[in-house]
């Protein structure tokens, strides 16, 4: 059975649909509702039929359909195991062990770390520290640890020599033929050095001198060497992971080794995260992220597509049962959190990390302070109070959502809010689909005025905004009841961004993490203010304060709330101060955005 997962994690809605009252990860017996001492295959078959019948009703659900497909497969997998007496016994024993709190395969996990530690043949300080800590915490004796290190070392050596033997040219040994010239010959020489494990012993200057002998310019040689070092590092990561994702602990060990490859930590992290994404299937990533409910599905899909659009990742949907136990179906916090950290890096921090990532000169040197400073110049020096904020061109208004969870007792329940105000382009699609009325100032035939596609739609009444919300829900397969205009409380929660405490909302700079700027690339007559609230590690949200004011869902005396401020307001305006308008009014400075309420 190997690393077969012991439990299934099922969303509460589907548990309810199957009539299972318990929550949390459930073992196979509980999922199928059979006793642990079940011997009767017919009872298991009946349970499978019952569960399938209930689940299949949800196949059409836009929200749960994907989970249903996976769950139907998982239930049949579970039943196959429970029906086979031998496999059932193995499963039951493993389950009991894990319930007694014994960590499964501690030795295997330790071996994973050792493989990372020994990947480049160096047992450096960081690696020693990680290994010691893990061994102590998991109760692995020094003798056991030594044994594992010896075995892993031998396996790695064997793998290396096998790949050397396979890759060696006919005749057995690599030959250096200086007579051959050009980049190809130079690269062959590099690979030869790598296979003879001489590369770390050869200084950067020596390699540059070699390049000259091959007729390769110093500039080109630097590029080739940089690529080559990345390739070597990637190969090492691959050797460590061999098909699994790279764990956090492994990453901690692998990052310091980057210096030996002339790479900085950001470049190394990118290689590791690239590898991890290439191993996870898009579905797995989506599954672990949508459980965290922090990102808009589309955004994730886009990320996944950009970062892992490789046949290797696309083609494999059966991988989860070979992943470490904390990922896959029985996903525990660790896996999801790590994936989130990775995505967060790409969303926000990663941008800066990438702009700095380059190969420093020389295989064993670390960047000098001057180099670090030079690399950092493209982004402005962050100020002390607002370290997370960075200026950059505003992206095309996206229709994505950002989720906010309650952090104070009377915060609104978890919800997602649109990153941008609804644009004219989005509204035009709605008009076309529903034959609704176009806002004042639009071209005949319901066309958007030239250049205004990506501007917020304004001149819409509150009723029109609500009708749009209904249509939008249908378009995106959301439960219609869950999509609406934001309440004042939700709006305020979003403006708080990453702050977990409420603070003093009467202060004029309450939206302290936001900045006003000019939206670039628009026609001069409608240049608007935009603002961006940056939430560390999560993303950013635009125009809560500036640009158009926005319809909200709160009602008072037959009037509807208007939230935020529009671009005509002075910057001293208290942007939490709402105004109230009759729901039938439409003004050129009022637009809207939507929230999607998560869960029930």
């Amino acid at each position: 059975m190997g690393s077969e997962n012991l439990t299934l994690t099922i969303s509460p809605t589907l548990l309810e649909a199957m009539g299972i009252r318990e929550q949390g990860p459930l073992n196979y017996f509980k999922v199928l509702g059979v006793r642990r001492d079940v011997e009767n295959a017919a009872a298991i078959d009946r349970a499978v039929m019952d569960r399938s019948r209930a689940l299949r009703q949800w196949q059409t659900s836009p929200q749960y359909g994907r989970e249903v497909v996976k769950l139907l497969a998982a239930i049949h997998r579970a039943a196959t195991i429970l029906k086979d007496p031998d496999r059932r016994n193995v499963y039951r024993e493993e389950l009991q062990r894990s319930e007694r709190g014994e960590t499964r395969n501690v030795i295997d996990e330790f071996a994973d770390l050792v493989r990372a530690a020994l990947a480049d043949g160096q047992l450096d300080l960081q690696a020693r520290a990680e290994l010691n800590q893990f061994a102590q915490q998991s109760g692995i004796s020094p003798a056991q640890a030594q044994q594992v290190i010896k075995e892993v070392g031998e396996k790695l050596a064997a793998a290396r020599s096998a790949s050397r033997a396979e890759a060696a040219p006919a005749g057995g040994a690599w030959e250096f033929r200086i007579a051959e010239q050009g980049e190809d010959a130079f690269q062959t020489m590099l690979h030869a050095l790598q296979h003879n494990e001489d590369i770390s012993a050869t200084s950067y200057e020596t390699l540059l001198a070699e390049a000259a002998r091959y007729g390769v310019s110093t500039e080109r040689a630097a590029v080739l060497l940089a690529d080559f070092q990345k390739l070597r590092y990637r190969n090492m990561v691959r050797l460590v992971a061999h098909g699994h994702i790279v764990t956090e602990a492994q990453t901690r060990i692998l990052l310091p080794k980057a210096a030996a490859y002339g790479l900085d930590q950001a470049a190394a992290f990118e290689i590791i995260s690239d590898y991890t994404l290439s191993v996870m299937t898009p579905d797995d990533i989506l599954a672990s992220l949508s459980m965290a409910n922090t990102f808009d599905q589309d955004e994730i899909e886009q990320l996944v597509k950009n970062r892992a659009d490789k046949p290797a990742a696309r083609g494999k949907s059966k991988l989860q049962h070979k992943m470490p136990p904390w990922l896959g179906m029985g996903v525990l916090a660790g896996g999801a959190v790590f994936a989130l950290v990775l995505l967060a890096m790409w969303l926000g921090l990663g941008k800066n990390a990438r702009s700095e990532s380059r190969v420093v000169s020389g295989p064993v040197t670390t960047p000098t302070p001057a180099e670090t400073a030079a690399a950092a110049t493209p982004t402005p020096e962050p100020t002390a109070e607002e370290p997370q904020f960075s200026f950059e061109p505003l992206p095309e208004p996206a229709s994505g959502f950002l989720a906010f969870e309650p952090t104070e007792a009377d915060d609104p329940a978890k919800f997602e809010i649109m990153i941008n105000e609804v644009t004219c382009a989005m509204y035009a699609e709605y008009i076309r689909a529903t034959l609704s009325e176009a806002p004042a100032g639009w071209e005949p035939g319901g066309r958007v005025p030239a250049g205004a596609d990506q501007l917020p739609v304004t001149n819409v009444t509150c009723d029109q905004a609500m009708a749009f919300a209904n249509w939008y829900a249908g378009q995106h397969n959301f439960n219609p009841a869950s999509v609406r205009l934001p309440s004042a409380a939700e709006y305020a929660r979003a403006m708080r961004g990453g702050r977990t405490t409420r603070g003093d909302p009467t202060l004029p700079n309450y939206w302290a993490r936001s900045r006003l700027g000019q939206r670039p690339g628009l026609t001069p007559s409608r240049q608007e203010q935009f603002d961006k609230i940056f939430i560390p590690g999560v993303g950013q949200i635009y125009d809560l304060v500036g640009n158009a004011a926005e319809w909200g869902s709160d009602e008072r005396d037959g009037k509807r709330i208007v939230l935020g401020g529009d671009y005509t307001r002075p910057s001293t305006w208290n942007h939490l101060e709402p105004s109230w308008q009759a729901p039938g009014t439409a003004t050129p400075t009022t637009g809207f955005r939507l929230v999607h309420v998560l869960g029930k």
Partner: protein, 525 residues
Amino acid sequence: MNYKDADPNSIAVGIDLGTTYSVVAQVDANGQPQIIPNSDNQRTTPSVIYIDGNQAIVGMVAKEQTQLGGNNTIQFIKPHVGRRRKRFLVGGQEWTPEELSAMILRKIVSDAQNNLGGRPITHAVITVPAFFTEQQRKSTEDAGRIAGLNVMSIINEPTAAALAYGFDTLGIDKTVLVYDLGGGTFDVTVMRISGHTITMLATDGDVQLGGKDWDERIIDFAADSFTRNHGVDPRQDPDTLQALYSQAEQAKLRLSKLPVTRLTVTCQGMADTVELTREQFEDMTEDLLSQTETTLRLTVQQANLDFKDIDEVLLVGGSTRMVAVRRMLQRIMGREPRHLINPDECVAHGAAIHAVMTQMRLRDNGQPVPEPQVREEQLERFRQMEERLINSHTLGIVALGVDGRQVVVPIIPRGAFVPRKEIKTFRTSAADQQQIRIMVMEGESDNPEACAQLGMCLVKGLPSDLPKGTPIEVCFECSQDGQLHIQSRLPAIHQTVHSQIARTAGMTEEEILTSRQRLEALIIS
């Protein structure tokens, strides 16, 4: 429907647009359905596309190209059809699933035209899995329109298979079960053939289950063994993985005939030969097979039948060649399933038969569709034949329940015969309601979250002062071709209220035109 005037020379065909393979068929002058081969003289064409610049290659050459890796090829498009915002990056450009499906249609249709002496194919019947939702059906139709075809009808694959089978054995009463395991889809349908009438009794399927899943188990087996021996996972290498896909498919085919087979995995200069026995293969795919068994049992229950009531089992789809599938069916049915029809071709055959039936029906209604190419004395058989189709998902609308929660109220239940017209009365929930929103849902649960939204009707411009609880009649009409028309009426003001149907499914004329122009810029071969 709005057809162009039919060219007297033009003809109609039946098309099986599959996940892995596509097939075109036409009924000949003797009333026999015949497969029309492609330009390579193959009866089936792999549903794989290779795009480079303005050149698009569909079929075997494209399939071979997948082994080279890269972003120029695309396959397994069908499960994505109908996902509105799905885009594939192929050959440096983004394509919708409908555009890609249209490329496949263009290729197989133009090959068929050449094989029929250049006579233009203007009309077609296209098949879809029975569980396909309204949106997926509409998107399939859109793909046909992008490819320049008039899609006369979209029919279910198992229905087509049963038509092909029933057509030859009319007059013998029997109950037939269709077990359709294709490359990426799985369908079960129970039907009754009685006299000249084929009646569907129940149909169900699994959204994502097909031969591809079996292939992936073989890939995992081979790759795990390689990883153990060499410490390198060949699945990490995109090119090796593509090669593994075709190796696994071949190995699966061989295991249908041989007790043991070998795969060679080559990766990063290392090579490994992995031996796989049929027993091992069946062991590692047992759960997949049992998933089809569950669906099979549930569908037979849904038809209120027992396995002993089933007279024949029809095997459809290439994956039914697996020995384990036949053994499982034998165990359940108590006798061996007979190889009555060609599993790869019967769906296209049935589509061609259905095309002739539709042609006659539409022509009788005075519509300009091409004349069937069948001799008059043979046409009688088609005229006598009758299909009683059912809809595969419950259709309903969202309303407020007594407890104030939103519920889906079914209007046309699953398994209802079509064409069908149903009227249900609802009441307004507030006084002076100005407009009424009718949300059309598809699914088997009363929970709106479990169902897919098909579209929305907005009844606007109601007279003011309507009291709360004013009755509104909602009428669903499902046509023979599976199309849904919705009307609503306010008896209180004695007139039908004009309702606008905002279809979320389907593309606009403009979008279809744009896509067609994109395709016209391509040389498809």
